[in-house]
């Protein structure tokens, strides 16, 4: 039934946590077949890409592989042509900068009337990166699958802050075309060798790169989050208040809830 290495590992994949290693060298005793296969793949990649190979991590049949930027296209070419990862799944980017705006959920007040304190940009929070590590703020992320064996690879590469660009995958995987256009407009990453790096979703004159962490989500900035202001006071709390205060509280609550509903609309048709 299953064309995976074995059904047991497939289920173990979801249930168990990260079993494998941060670097291939660290794991000495591969416990399952999948891990052995992962190690073999990583070994071959190491040989093919050489110095540009940075880090890897395996979980079940999925391998995270981080390479240097110069080897980004070589990695794709090797995976597709030599390893049989024919299926292009997706390509995107991650901005590892902690959001300078926090969550924007705490603004129980109307930010238009009371402009918030500027975020303390004096000391930016440290960048923490995730699986298979990372060295810079922007990281490219792509996933390819091997449809005959069920293996998949999540490839990552770090982009230096002063030169957000990478070799394009389009000559290797045609499907990367739109994904790279999306990554371009959302993160501002340039792809060398892309046939037409136009905006995909956003209007042509749009400024900024919305999925960067320092791009404010304006709907949250200007109006309080309706979830916070809609909270109804518990009855016993109201009873303890003086009568006049209770009336005021009721009035302000109704105003806030009206504002809250309009801000939900402002978030771009979430309710549609």
């Amino acid at each position: 039934m299953s064309r995976l290495s074995s059904p047991d590992t497939a289920t173990a994949d979801t249930a168990t946590a990260d079993t494998a290693t941060v670097t291939p060298e660290a794991s000495d005793t591969p416990s399952t077949e999948a891990e052995a296969a992962a190690e073999a793949l990583v070994e071959r990649l190491h040989n093919a890409i050489g110095e540009a190979f940075v880090e890897s991590h395996a979980r079940g049949v999925t391998h995270w592989i981080r390479v240097q930027r110069d080897a980004w296209a070589d990695l794709a070419g090797y995976l597709r042509n030599d390893e049989g990862f024919e299926f292009f799944n997706f390509l995107s980017a991650i901005d590892w900068l902690p959001s300078p705006f926090g969550r924007d959920m705490d603004s129980a007040v109307d930010n238009v009337l009371n402009p918030p304190e500027p975020a303390d940009s004096a000391e930016p929070a440290a960048i923490e990166t995730g699986t298979a590590g990372g060295a810079s703020r922007f990281q490219l992320l792509a996933r390819v699958n091997d449809v005959t064996t069920g293996r998949s690879v999540i490839a990552k590469t770090d982009l230096p802050d002063d030169d957000l660009s990478a070799p394009s995958w389009v000559p290797i995987y045609s499907g990367a075309n739109w994904h790279e256009r999306e990554a371009r407009e959302m993160f501002g990453v340039n792809f060398q060798g892309h046939p037409g790096l136009r905006h995909l979703y956003l209007p042509g004159e749009f400024e900024g790169h919305p999925l960067r962490k320092d791009y404010p989500l304006l709907a949250r900035r200007v109006k309080p989050w309706p979830g916070l202001v809609d909270v109804e006071l518990m009855p016993e709390i109201v009873e303890n208040q003086p009568a006049a205060d209770a009336v005021d509280a009721g009035a302000s609550t109704s105003e806030d809830s009206a504002a809250g509903s309009s801000s939900a609309d402002a978030e771009g048709g979430v309710s549609s």
Binding site: M1, R3, L4, D13, T14, E86, F90, R143, G268
Partner: protein, 389 residues
């Protein structure tokens, strides 16, 4: 030489003849904007087609008319709130959108839903597949000109929506899946009603087979039109019935069910060697029947027990990255979740099926006739919410 090959050769020969004539008389091209408001696009997709007579020289889809920025919005919402958003991605099979996200979050939290929840999840997953694909079966006929089947599709889809509503409370946007299980158990009598609904859908499939699939005109319009070779489809990231119609035997329900109980039932994956519009229609029709089979078998053996695992009230997902993809009605849908141990996901990359499925259109629409644009787009079957996210 099979019938299909002959038709393909005829088609190619006709196109070559047209090209010769056009070269001789040097006709001027015309740019036709199909959409954003157009009956053939389920939503607001716009296709800028450069035409030479009735023939397409180049076609470029333009989207973003419905882009809602879910990846950004998800960063300021708690995990349970995100399911409300992602319900609206593929609005015809909404429940199926929630499942991979919840599974990815469960994977990070190292929780597993109880068996009963997994079974009900799988049933609802397949019901939303049926609700989605039945509409395609009727709609495909509308795209090539037969109006009646879509009425049948809406009529019989209603039975499935009723069952989804009875179980979840929402016809279109159930928002029923929770980290660690489901919101509620099934209502009384639901299993029998679902069996009846499945019987109706099965007769609907037979009806479609006679009315649409067996029709000579339908076959003449779809066979040999929009042929996608397997390697091209894979490199463009086509998934679901689109890639199986090109002969690629790959279905995540069988190959990596991760958390859904497809290995408990007896079913098969259908493929078709042709890769044309007809093959895509045929594969979807067979898949609907398989989905009925799966649901009927699962209904027989739902295990007893709770539907919710022990999960903290305030859900904080431990730091890490997880990617879970499932075989959704439109194709493979995956969520790449990056968590930093907070209430909110740090980054959610939504890999939606239609986005990749439609990305092949510039390659596919080159050289076809205007009526074939509609046939091909219809057979690729996309939902605008799934493209624009």
């Amino acid at each position: 030489m099979t019938v299909t090959e002959r038709q393909q050769l005829n088609y190619i020969a006709a196109q070559a003849a047209d090209a010769r004539v056009n070269l001789e008389i040097e006709t001027e091209g015309m740019t036709l904007n199909i959409g954003p408001q157009h009956p053939a696009t389920h939503g607001t997709l716009r296709i800028v087609a450069k035409l030479d007579g009735e023939q397409v020289v180049s076609a470029e889809p333009v989207m973003g008319y419905m882009h809602r920025g879910y990846e950004k919005l998800a960063e300021v919402r708690t995990y349970p709130q995100v399911t409300t958003l992602i319900n609206r991605i593929d609005w015809l099979g909404s429940f199926a959108n929630e499942v991979p996200f919840i599974l990815a979050a469960e994977q990070l939290m190292e929780v597993e839903a109880p068996p009963r929840a997994q079974w009900i999840r799988t049933i609802l997953f397949e019901l939303s597949r049926i609700a989605n694909v039945t509409l395609f079966l009727g709609d495909m006929a509308v795209q090539v000109g037969a109006i009646t089947p879509v009425f049948f599709a809406f009529r019989d889809r209603e039975h499935v929506l009723n069952q989804i509503e009875a179980a979840t409370g929402g016809r279109f946007h159930p928002n029923f899946d929770r980290i660690g299980g489901l919101k509620d158990d099934l209502p009384a009598g639901w299993i029998d009603e679902t069996r009846q609904a499945m019987r109706k859908i099965r007769s609907f499939c037979d009806q479609i087979e006679e009315l649409v699939e067996g029709n000579e005109i339908f076959q003449a319009r779809t066979r040999g039109i929009g042929v996608i070779p397997a390697e091209v489809g894979l490199s463009y990231g086509l998934t679901g019935a689109n890639i199986r119609a090109s002969g690629v035997d790959w279905d995540l329900r069988r190959d990596n069910p991760c958390g859904l109980v497809y290995d408990q039932v007896d079913w098969r994956v259908w493929t078709h060697p042709d890769g044309d519009s007809f093959a895509r229609f045929w594969v979807r029709l067979q898949e609907t029947r398989e989905a009925i089979k799966i649901v009927e078998q699962l209904l027989d053996g739902i295990p007893a027990g709770p539907v919710m695992a022990k999960v903290p009230v305030i859900i904080k997902v431990p730091p890490g990255e997880a990617h879970v993809e499932t075989e959704n009605p439109l194709g493979v849908m995956g969520y790449y979740i990056v968590s930093k141990g907070d209430l909110f996901p740090f980054r959610v990359k939504i890999r939606s099926a239609s986005f990749s499925n439609v990305s092949i259109t510039p390659w596919l629409l080159k050289g076809v006739y205007v009526p074939d644009i509609i046939t091909i787009l219809g057979s690729l079957y996309f939902i605008l919410g799934d493209i624009d996210r």
